[in-house]
Symmetry: C2
Subunit: 109 residues, 2 copies
């Protein structure tokens, strides 16, 4: 899709993935496939991996290498306490934004 979506994903994609990991641990390939199912058909695989590296470096997830029946070992990420804190902050920020935008869309102040 368009450039608009690309720009809008900056900042939100991380939240989306944290929210997904809050439900259950997962690995990169799996997350990418899920995103495509959700309609984010144009998110590049490389993007997801890069993002996972970032959130790992910031200590928001725990990582475990799990051998796969097919292909190289999977890196399974699970949200830790720091990650849950970050996710909560994300929802707060997101909530503020959606509220403002909803008002704007109604033409209202």
């Amino acid at each position: 899709m368009g450039k608009q979506m690309t720009e809008m994903l900056k900042g939100t994609l991380e939240g989306i993935i944290l929210a997904f990991l809050a439900a259950r641990p997962a690995y990169g390939y799996e997350i990418t496939a899920w995103l495509r199912e959700q309609g984010f058909v144009d998110i590049a695989e490389g993007t997801v991996y890069a993002l996972l590296v970032r959130i790992e470096q910031r200590g928001l997830v725990d990582v475990e290498k799990v051998p796969s029946e097919k292909g190289p070992p999977r890196k399974v990420y699970s949200l830790n306490d720091a990650g849950r804190g970050d996710l909560e902050e994300f929802w707060t920020t997101w909530g503020f934004l959606t509220e403002r935008l909803a008002q704007l869309k109604q033409g209202g102040r």
Copy 2:
């Protein structure tokens, strides 16, 4: 506010300003002040001006210089047809994102 907001604004701030200009023409300083009223207290002035330059260069707005009683002349921006088209696209993209995020927040899917 935090870095999260900064990143989330990428892509949306432009939509916010286009939406504002859809209601009535305005100039940079005015838009900045309005944003602060809306609670976006930490959006730098430079950011708004840079954004206005960008949307002007993309031909989404018409510009008119209007002398001010105080200070240098104002650059008043008004949304044109191209801008209205872009704004519509923005709402579509935004709608898609909010829908996905709302589902995610409900723990659903």
